[in-house]
């Protein structure tokens, strides 16, 4: 009995001692933030470097360029106080939520003060959920899902890329301009794929249109024939697709195989790009004369400077391998946004004078910038206003036939669609001048003709016998 009592007291003593020991260094989620700017500010950057190398590397390089420039600013040009520098930490999210989670965990362990990234909306959501308890502000340069505007779920998230809430309305305005009332949509099941479609469907339906069918497939799916065939069965006036380039390639290849490429296809920013059909003639053929939206080209002095300096050999020291600089091709369209995200971060840090998450976030919302992507300013949700161009793919070139900024504006001219319909654009109105569809393969008549010939041959053959 005494032994039992002694053992119990010993165990309880150990527990108390352990609690006391642990209590000296409490483990909690509160970040060790200071109310002054440290000399080294840790800035994380997350990019799909291996998952989407043609996009991720350029966006990474733009991030690193901006960090370098900011650290080397002098005099009145300097944004951050003298002696305060940015320390970058580049993470690869592999373009998957799992990779994004790992990247976020790594940056939290590294005690990042602020993070730029990432590209995919689903991946940004994963990261935002990890950063929120640590109050780490996150500025995305490319995530566009409207779901990310939810400031209850993602209070420390903001972005320099426009939400698809704008693009969904832009697409809806486009199809309404063509007086289409019956359409179908197809998209991936992730946050990016569904976000724009929901906004489009709401706006289009409110305007009297009907989305006859909504087909969905998982990102990276191999087999989409059934979904594409269902689009064909719907007998609609247009098909809106919302996915990124590689899923678009899968879908359009199947569309070509099944003969669905002769309907008007509407593209969105994820696949209104030459990367969709690079080295794939079938996909390029299927996408001919498709129309859609793409982020408005960047203009302004900031963009011109960025464009000029991008290919400078001064950047040879950047971590490689590079994409655009090595191939000589134009940089990825979101590279300037990645660049601006860093400048927004720097201006926010300078204004806040602190790396405290809440103070920094308030300061970030008030930042205005004439950057590489143009004029940047944020609304009460940390969102920028969207601007889009309406484009059409002809051969391998996207030509612009209008733009959208709070409403559509079209350029006068003529346009022919994939269903061989012809349209005239004048005074911001689109008028049908020739109806589709393209001349179709003979139908039932052919079967009857073949059958009749067969019967005739049989009768003649019998008579001869």
């Amino acid at each position: 009995m005494q032994k039992k009592i002694r053992t119990t007291i010993l165990i309880m003593g150990l527990l108390v001692f352990t609690t006391f020991l642990v209590g000296i260094r409490p483990i909690n989620a509160e970040p060790k933030k200071t109310t002054a700017l440290p000399t080294t500010i840790k800035i994380g950057g997350v990019f799909p470097i291996t998952g989407r190398p043609e996009a991720g590397r350029d966006r990474r390089d733009a991030f690193l360029m901006a960090v370098y420039e900011i650290n080397n600013q002098t005099g009145t040009d300097r944004i951050l106080p003298a002696g305060v520098n940015l320390l970058p930490n580049v993470q690869d999210d592999l373009n998957t939520p799992e990779g994004a989670q790992a990247a976020a965990d790594a940056l939290v362990a590294w005690e990042a003060d602020i993070v730029c990234g990432t590209s995919g909306s689903s991946n940004s959501m994963t990261m935002a959920s990890t950063f929120t308890p640590h109050k780490i502000p996150q500025i995305s340069y490319a995530s566009s899902s409207p779901a990310l505007t939810n400031r209850t779920a993602y209070p420390y998230f903001m972005r320099v890329a426009a939400s698809d809430a704008w693009q969904g309305v832009a697409v809806s305005d486009l199809v309404q301009a063509f007086n289409w009332t019956k359409g179908a949509v197809i998209h991936t099941s992730d946050a990016y794929g569904t976000g724009l479609i929901e906004v489009f469907t709401t706006d289009f339906t409110a305007a009297g249109g009907t989305v006859v069918t909504d087909q969905i497939f998982d990102a990276n799916a191999l087999e989409v024939s059934t979904q594409v065939q269902a689009l064909k069965d719907a007998e609609v006036e247009f098909i809106l697709g919302n996915f990124i380039d590689k899923d678009a390639a899968t879908c359009m290849k199947e569309a070509k195989n099944l003969g669905v490429d002769n309907l008007p296809w509407i593209t969105t920013d994820g696949w209104s790009t030459t990367a969709t059909f690079a080295d794939e003639d079938d996909v390029k053929d299927a996408m001919q004369k498709s129309i859609g939206t793409t982020p408005a080209p960047l203009t302004g002095a900031g963009y011109a400077t960025f464009n000029t300096s991008w290919f400078s050999t001064d950047w040879a020291f950047l971590a490689g391998p590079k994409n655009s600089q090595d191939t000589g091709s134009a940089f990825n369209s979101y590279a300037p946004l990645s660049y601006d995200a860093v400048y927004v971060a720097a201006k926010g840090l300078a204004a806040a004078g602190s790396v405290d998450g809440d103070e920094l976030l308030d300061a970030l919302y008030d930042v205005t910038l004439e950057g590489a992507s143009g004029s940047v300013s944020f609304d009460e949700y940390g969102e920028v206003i969207g601007r889009y161009d309406y484009v059409q793919l002809v051969d391998e070139t996207y030509t612009t036939f209008g733009e959208w900024q709070d409403g559509p504006t079209f350029i006068d001219g003529e346009i022919t669609l994939a269903d061989c319909s012809e349209w005239s654009i004048a005074s911001n109105k689109i008028t049908n001048t020739k109806e589709g569809p393209c001349p179709a393969a003979p139908g039932f008549e052919l079967l009857i003709a073949v059958f009749a010939v067969g019967v005739l041959v049989a009768i003649v053959g019998r008579k001869r016998k």
Binding site: T50, G51, R52, P53, L94, N95, S189, T210, V211, V212, T213, D214, Q215, I216, F217, D218, N220, A221, L222, E223, S225, T226, Q227, Q229, A230, K232, D233, A234, E235, K246, A249, T250, C251, M252, K253, E254, N257, L258, G259, A278, D279, E280, D281, D282, V283, A440, A441, P442, G443, F444, L446, L447
Partner: protein
């Protein structure tokens, strides 16, 4: 709107092609299942390696040989690529046996150990492929068929076009889809014939029943096992090359994404039954397709059942066509509830199954 609102023939053709893909990719798994008596989860990476090796040959030849009109036929020839994939994946199968499964067999390991080891092999192979080729999808430049078959071997028939009763009924099949159907059926019948009517097949079945007895009977079981691995893996690689040709892009996760449907086909058809594999592939494929049609019609505006229910009852039931992939597994579960050995499987096979 026509009385028949869907292109039934086209959907039937799509389901037929998907069944062909499933058959082609399950033959190897059925072989390993029936002879070696364990679930080989690295089968997914055989599919992936088959795709990559066939593509890899194209890259090598394009690098070494000047690509002109004559040489293009050899460089980008699907039969050459598929044959190369056969040997490359076959070698992978043999390596798996030498490095892992053979040692486990010598240690008299249980079937579960084999299965777990196969999962590990799959992870290793997948990550090696990512390291070597990258994690991002590779574009597919359409390979060529000999004798201009890609232009000849095409079915593009439109029986009715926007007919008020029948709507549009058409069958559109590219050459690769037709080849997948033909090759899958020929291959499964060939393997089935080898199993049942050749000395080698008898030896494989004897080895499957009892390795010790087979050895006593004078059968070189080690050789049989090696050949089984080579053929099972090789056939999978051969098929994977053709599947790659039908896709827009391919990547390191493609095989893994096919793993569940492949296992569903094997289990539903009955372990070790190749003809059962054909039937089950068609069952799963058509169940998937029919459910997609039903779910699409359910949510079709404005007359779809979803909106009728919403008007009548005041609440919405949303069933997306995206659920169609799950329907095949529902069918699998229902069949197994009444016939656990699968459609053509035997009761004894279940006891050996993991």
């Amino acid at each position: 709107m026509a009385i028949v609102p869907v292109d039934v023939l086209s959907h039937a053709a799509i389901a037929f092609v998907y069944a062909g893909k499933l058959i082609l990719l399950t033959i190897g798994l059925n072989m390993t299942y029936s002879v070696l008596k364990f679930s080989n989860f690295s089968h997914a990476e055989w599919v992936t390696w088959g795709m990559f090796s066939s593509w890899w040959l194209l890259q090598i030849l394009a690098f070494l040989v000047p690509w002109d009109a004559e040489m293009g036929f050899i460089i980008n020839n699907i039969l050459i690529q598929a044959t190369f994939a056969f040997f490359m994946v076959g070698i992978l199968g043999i390596l798996s046996e030498i490095l892992v499964f053979g040692r486990l067999r010598d240690l008299k390991a249980s079937a579960r150990s084999f299965t777990v080891a196969s999962i590990g092999i799959g992870l290793v192979v997948r990550n090696l492929l990512s390291m070597v080729f990258g994690d991002y999808p590779q574009p597919v430049s359409s390979p060529e068929l000999p004798f201009g078959l890609e232009d000849i071997l095409v079915i593009n028939i439109t029986l009715t076009n926007r007919d008020p009763i029948l709507g549009t009924q058409s069958i559109i099949l590219t050459s690769y889809k037709i080849l997948i159907i033909l090759i899958s059926i020929i291959t499964v019948l060939l393997i089935d014939y080898i199993f049942k009517h050749t000395k080698f097949g008898i030896a494989m079945r004897a080895t499957s029943d009892s390795i010790d007895l087979a050895q006593v009977s004078g059968i070189n079981t080690r050789q049989i096992i090696f050949i089984t691995w080579f053929i099972a893996a090789g056939v999978t690689g051969f098929g994977a090359a053709f599947v790659r040709a039908t896709q827009g892009r391919f990547g390191t996760m493609d095989g893994f994404s096919m793993l569940l449907p492949i296992f569903a086909v094997v289990i539903l058809g009955g372990v070790g039954s190749f003809r059962g594999g054909i039937v089950s592939a068609f069952i799963i494929s058509y169940a998937r397709e029919i459910s997609a049609i039903i779910l699409t019609e359910f949510q079709k505006k404005p007359y779809g059942l979803q909106y009728v229910i919403e008007d009548l009852l005041g609440f919405t039931i949303s069933l997306s066509p995206g659920y169609m992939d799950g329907v095949g597994f529902v069918v699998l579960i229902l069949v197994l509830l009444f016939r656990p050995q699968g459609i053509f499987g035997s009761v004894e096979a279940i006891r050996a199954r993991v």
